[in-house]
Amino acid sequence: MSRQKSKLQGAWTAKGKRERAESINPVQDHSYEYPHGCPSPQARMGGSKGDTRSSDDQKDDIPVENYVAQHYIENPYLIGGRKFDLRVYVLVMSYMPLRAWLYRDGFARFSNTRFTLNSIDDQYVHLTNVAVQKTSPDYHPKGCKWMLQRFRQYLASKHGPKAVETLFSDMDNIFIRSLQSVQKAIISDKHCFELYGYDILIDQDLKPWLLEVNASPSLTASSQEDYELKTCLLEDTLHIVDMEARLTGREKRVGGFDLMWNDGPVSREDGAHDLSGLGNFVTNTHLGCVNDRKKQLRQLFRSLQGQKKTPN
């Protein structure tokens, strides 16, 4: 098979369908061979919900490997000279119609070494997943994560609240559009739910980029804070799954989860959607905001009990 010169320019990363984080390799040389199929340079969606085009080469008996190539972001936003990415949790209760919840907490994961394009071979610099960082000789067991609240405050003190609002609403768009793009492809089952871990990278212009969506986000904890976040996340997920049938189904917030999409945008204000499009619409997302979930859950369940006692 002759080598075909790829039309890809600049730096790219390539991920295979079944591969996990450890085998992501940033590549610079654009004369790499992609023997099967053609990776889609436009796709920014990786992981198992991505492109599942099958190849015509089945008669070759070589297993088909699909890769998604993403443009490498050369100007990531740096804090303390370090590169980081954001981990955000999205719970999807159904695809048809699309119902999705966004968890208020999440974290920023930092690379332990300082960012520079000179060391593209150093995977410790570029790959921020804790799974990879754990193997770096520099790794401090305390964990190199910031809770999203801290990250949001840091950005607000540096760029002002408006810029931060814009960034976070751009992220809302990423979540919704990515789910909408696979809405038709995923089998919708009323009895299924899925908790996704979204990985987002911010560039120096405060633009968010979707790196990938993980269908099985890691739930192991790297610190006490991490442990609390993940246990609360799971608890609230199960509250929404509602096996005990306590909820009315009209809730817009359960613990740390805010209802982000309910077959249409969900507004922060109570009452009907503002369908006139007059721009007073504020989405019901509170990523990186105060998460007073215990209090909210107490109030919620108390009022639900009250409703039960007075059936109408």
Binding site: G80, G81, C289
Partner: protein, 461 residues
């Protein structure tokens, strides 16, 4: 005649009292500081001899180039620091303060002090709650506060929006005095960096940037023993902190330059301490060969880097960050680790803390004393570090807003007492110092402003 005589006697008595007062503390300070200083220097010199490292040396050219290349990522260096020890830790300093005694003091002089059961035995004047209420009047229940009235349940129209608008106006008019008054009610996150710079009179002029670059050159060319102490401190404290680890590189860039900044020596004019001196090799005792060591006269102790870490949250340009830190140090932080009778000095803060506790929470105070857990032993480290590393960053910044606004560190003592008051119920049940420490180990969930307000304005006294 009699009247004149007695008037004269009164005047003379007053003058004597005044003289007594002024010399008293100066003498005390000098003695105490003198012996403490000797100890620190001795420790530094012995480390020097043990490790056969000179206090200062010029770097070879190769090393200079390497350091220059690595300037923005000194945190990646992992030098062998195992043999270095911090020169002293806050608890060593506390022992010195506890042993401060006034040789001229007669027990009959002050009734209230005779019954003081805390660790500090120096009868300085400290404020009581009525005086503190007056001093901190803007923190009262009827005024809006950032840290309370900007929480999610409170509609922003009630206070926050207007407060932000006023802040923007103050900034646009560049009114430093107005900014200081304004910030007593807290600073909005987006305006804080500029407001602090305005209050501290920092404006990044080209000559300031040039000055910083010169200090940087100094660092590149010469290696000081204190550099290793700074490295060690950063690695032990800030790098291990869940939030400040990110700013490790900035801390080196600030602290290494700081130790070479001779303009810092200026603050010794109003500090009762004097900068430690060292002598050129072979010329011990000859004043012409005396140099201040380190050049800025400040020997870092364990936890020193935590003074800088919160500032990294606000300032990202190294020379500006440096200027802000230096100004904060010469205005406030130096008082936290030098002996003086100033109301914001650490001795006064300790005494204020103990007095507040003993007067307004006597049951708690006596209980803790009984079980061998003198409250100051726990709160001292909070005050010495101005709570940096103990509170969540956003809360810490709200606290430091008030330090700037009131130009006083007394709020640290009040907050320390308020924390004890808040956890009083749990503290009453403990039976050992270790258990008391455990109850007060984690302050990261505390909200500073409600605690202060409740303690000062809402507790029945």
């Amino acid at each position: 005649m009699l009247q004149e005589e007695s008037d004269l006697a009164l005047i003379i008595a007053q003058i004597v009292q005044k003289l007594k007062g002024s010399n008293l503390y100066a003498q005390l300070e000098r003695q105490a500081w003198g012996s403490w200083e000797k100890r620190i220097l001795k420790s530094l010199n012995s480390m020097c001899t043990e490790l056969s490292i000179p206090l200062a040396r010029k770097r070879p050219v190769g090393e200079q180039k390497e350091l220059l290349n690595k300037w923005n990522e000194m945190g990646t260096d992992e030098p062998d620091l195992s043999l270095f020890r911090p020169v002293y830790a806050p608890k060593d300093f506390l022992e010195v303060l506890i042993n401060l005694r006034n040789p001229n003091y007669e027990n009959g002089d002050s009734h209230s002090f005779r019954t003081h059961l805390g660790l500090i035995q120096v009868p300085l004047k400290v404020k009581d709650i009525p005086e503190l209420k007056e001093f901190f009047v803007e923190l009262g229940l009827t005024a809006g506060q950032l840290g309370i009235d900007d929480s999610t349940q409170v509609p922003p129209e009630l206070f926050e929006n207007e407060h932000v608008r006023i802040g923007q106006k103050v900034l646009s008019e560049q009114d430093s005095a107005a900014a200081q008054q304004y910030i007593r009610q807290g600073s909005p996150t987006a305006l804080r960096a500029e407001l602090w710079a305005l209050i501290l009179n920092i404006s990044s002029q080209p000559e300031d940037i040039l000055y910083y670059e010169q200090l940087k050159t100094n660092v590149i060319q010469h290696d000081l023993l204190v550099d290793s102490l700074i490295y060690k401190d950063v690695k032990l404290t800030a790098s291990n902190d869940d939030y400040y680890f990110v700013f490790e590189d900035y801390l080196y860039q600030v602290l290494l330059c700081f130790s070479r900044d001779t303009s810092v020596l200026g603050h010794f004019a109003y500090n009762s301490a004097s900068p430690p001196k060292s002598y050129i090799r072979g010329k011990l005792g000859l004043e012409e060969y005396a140099v201040f060591y380190p050049p800025n006269g400040v020997i870092p102790f364990h936890g020193f880097s935590m003074y800088v870490a919160p500032l990294c949250f606000l300032y990202h340009e190294p020379s500006k960050l440096y200027q802000i830190f230096r100004e904060m140090y010469v205005r406030f932080f130096f008082r936290l680790h030098s002996i003086s009778s100033h109301p914001s000095g650490i001795v006064s803060l300790c005494l204020l803390f103990e007095t507040l506790l003993q007067t307004y929470l006597p049951q708690l105070f006596y209980h803790l004393r009984e079980i061998g857990a003198q409250p100051l032993r726990i709160s001292f480290k909070w005050m010495v570090r101005a709570f940096s590393g103990y509170l969540a960053t956003d809360q810490l910044l709200l606290l430091w807003d008030r330090i700037l606004g009131y130009n006083s560190l007394e709020i640290l003592a009040v907050l320390a007492a308020a924390v004890f008051a808040f956890r009083a119920v749990n503290l009453m049940e403990v039976t050992s110092l270790a258990a008391a420490e455990a109850v007060l180990a984690d302050l990261s969930t505390l909200k500073v402003m409600p605690l202060l307000q409740i303690f000062l304005f809402a507790t029945v006294t």
